[in-house]
């Protein structure tokens, strides 16, 4: 009897530790991701190959990189809806400079430079002119896309030099790991360190949590927001560069099929509060993986796209439900 109760005591200890971990936001997302993986494992035999997962990581890299900037900006309570159009701007700029200069590096530099320029304009309009970021970037979503359409006359721009090194970078691996994902993970880790371990990062949370408090504490709110707009558009430019590598063309419709919404969906699914100040980049990583895995699994199953929309949407609502449930529990625990 005594032995039994002792044993069960030890069990309940471990159980309580596990149940405490289960109450964290990230744990819920990990479980959701595993559930999605297991579900497809059962339903679709082709997902039982390792190759599928390496492909998945390659494919979600552009989304993940763009999501870093979106996450940081949203943590400070601001938005950038224009990232889809940014992809096309970067893509077209890069290949146009390729063809004009016959120099790969100049093209890459020019393509990446579009990020800070557009982000800087957003930052200026929002922080200096006090314009609403949602509306401002909704405007540039259309304006940038229109600019690209006008310039290219809706024809893809072909890389006349055929820079194969450039295209190979997308398909090459480091060991088993796709190169784009290596880049994405490096950027995620860097951003994670900035967000959790530096004053700049903690100030982002402070601004999103209570902007007035941040301001009266002497935090340079406008400067930080300006930098975040630059980071966000720049991360979108990097995504655009990777997608350009994939096809080797400057494509006017790059990111036009709701790229910004898919990324924001991943970020929100990962638990970043729309009002800012709450959430972590780890959540974003998981959110993007969940959406990516769902889309890929459905595609492999040959499910039609309408059905895919339905399933993806439902998973998102399930995740948001999980977060609000989590919030209610933690309020309860704090009391």
């Amino acid at each position: 009897m005594a032995v039994l109760s002792k044993g069960s005591g030890g069990n309940s200890d471990a159980a309580s530790r596990i149940s405490r971990w289960l109450l964290t936001r990230e744990a819920g997302l990990v479980i959701l991701l595993l559930a999605v993986v297991v579900l497809f494992w059962i339903l679709e035999p082709s997902t039982r190959q390792q190759r599928v997962y390496w492909d998945l990581l390659r494919e979600i890299s552009p989304n993940l990189i763009a999501a870093i900037g979106v996450t940081m900006l949203m943590l400070a309570g601001e938005f950038d809806l224009s990232i889809g159009s940014m992809l096309a701007v970067t893509s077209v700029t890069t290949v146009v400079v390729f063809n004009g200069t016959d120099n790969m590096w100049l093209g890459i530099i020019a393509g990446l430079a579009t990020g800070p320029i557009v982000g800087g304009i957003h930052g200026y309009l929002v922080t200096r002119q006090k314009m609403n970021s949602l509306v401002t970037t909704l405007g540039s979503l259309f304006a940038l896309r229109g600019m690209v359409y006008v310039y290219t006359n809706k024809t893809p721009i072909v890389d006349e030099n055929g820079f194969y090194d450039f295209q190979d970078a997308y398909y090459n691996n480091l060991g088993p790991v796709p190169l784009p994902f290596v880049l994405a993970i490096i950027l995620v880790v860097l951003a994670l360190i900035v967000l959790t371990q530096t004053e700049f990062g903690r100030n982002i949370y402070a601004i999103g949590g209570n902007e007035t408090a941040a301001r009266v504490s002497g935090i340079k709110v406008n400067l930080i927001k300006f930098i975040l707009f630059v980071i966000c558009a720049s991360s979108a430019a990097i995504s655009g560069m990777i997608l350009t590598m994939q096809t080797g063309t400057g494509y006017f419709d790059s990111g036009s099929s709701g790229f910004e919404l898919i990324v924001i969906a991943g970020v929100v699914l990962g638990g970043i509060a729309l009002s800012g100040g709450k959430g972590s980049l780890v959540g974003t990583l998981l959110g993007i993986l969940i959406l990516g895995m769902t889309a890929k699994g459905l595609r492999l199953m040959g499910v039609n796209t309408n059905m895919q929309l339905m399933v993806t949407g439902s998973i998102m609502i399930l995740a948001v439900f999980m977060h609000s449930f989590h919030d209610r529990i933690s309020i309860f625990r704090n009391r």
Partner: protein, 501 residues
Amino acid sequence: MSEQQALLQLTGIAKEFPGTKALKGVDFSLNAGEVHALIGENGAGKSTLIKIIAGLYQQDAGTIEVEGKAVEFHSPADSLEHRIKVVYQELDLVPDLSIAENVFLGNLPKKALRAVDWQALYSRTSELLLDLGLDIDPEVPISALTVAQQQLVEIARALSRQAQIIIMDEPTSALSQTEIESLFAVIRRLQARGVGIMYVSHKLDEIYAIADRVTVFRDGEHIATEAVVNTKHSDLVTWMVGREVKDLYPRTPAKRGDVLLEVDSVSGGNIENFSLNVHAGEIVAVFGLMGSGVHNLGRLIFGNMPRTGSVRLSGEEIHAKAPMDAIRKGLGFLTENRKSDGLLLPLSVKDNITLVSVNNYANLMVINGQEERRATTGIIDKLSIKTPGIAQKIRYLSGGNQQKSLVGRWLLEDLKVLMFAEPTRGIDVGSKAEIYRLMDDMAHGGMGILVLSTELPEVMGIADRIIVIRQGRSAGRWISRQEANEQDLMTAATVQMEKVI
């Protein structure tokens, strides 16, 4: 003027906003180791002056000197650099960050590469908190703290920056009596260290308890600066309102009618088995300290907090969890948080007043604008709400006029009983008297009023019957305010708590 050089000297400060002159050239000085109170009604210009000192606003005219040197504040960072820290009335904390991160907000201790030095952050925060008598884990998020603890975190924040000038804006508005006393102890300790404290308050009693000098503003003008020992209570009131307020509490006995509200063994939250009733023509007050459950009692009765037990209005049962049912049957509720629970700040005075009753002016869901305006104007006249017009955004009204608008909102409904939590919190003396008069009028009109308050003088001044609540339970009942005295009420409200401490 004085031999001692002032720590902070403001001269001829003026500030104009579109439509109003908030400050018309005011002076204020603060010496090291001094508590200098600034009082005035809402709209007197106190908050504007604080914001200028904090660097949030820039003055149109006038000079600021810190330790004899002229300074200009273009941003809060400039003001902080001169070791000035404002402890705001509405606490400026980031709820999801830890205590430590809040204390050092904008000023986190750093290691190489600008990385946050967490160890130093937590240990230095613990030291500061212990210094203020708060023994609590600095890694806990702010949202888990009580208001009083949050206030101490704000003060710890001032100390973390070695502030030499601390400005406290209504620091006690949400504190209990014991918490106020420990705050005063902290203030005295800061004073002994040579910190100058500007203490902005509505509560005259506190000024006598803590301040050395007092300055009065009225309508953006400097009226008087005096040593506290040389001023009488009545002087302060006269200076503040510009006239004598003869009777703050105009309660006159009304005819007691049938029982209207019957609350029977209600439980929920920290409240257990609480019963009371209110008759027509009666003002009943429930008095308790912060944390006693006095405010939750209102929520339980109104139905926006889950409850067990029964609530009846004129014999009809009111459903739990359905405020709409309470309203339909004639019960109104003004909560203690005017800004967050009551007002729609970006909307007009009219929209705020007709929020609940708007359906009364609608035919087939289309609002009859003319009728709505007429009803609003009627209320504005009846309650003498001071506003440039019914289309004025309510956020620009003074606290007193906002509160009157909220009362007006309920007057448009055919109410039997109005519950009133902290009816005069953050309201100036003149408006207080008007709110009390309104309550008296309503009682004479046959309504029942239930006041839920943490302010003893108010309860003593206005109630026909008083119930004390302590730790969610009834802790004493007085059938008339003539029989009650402050001592007994306070003892009833606190005695058990002190045992715990």
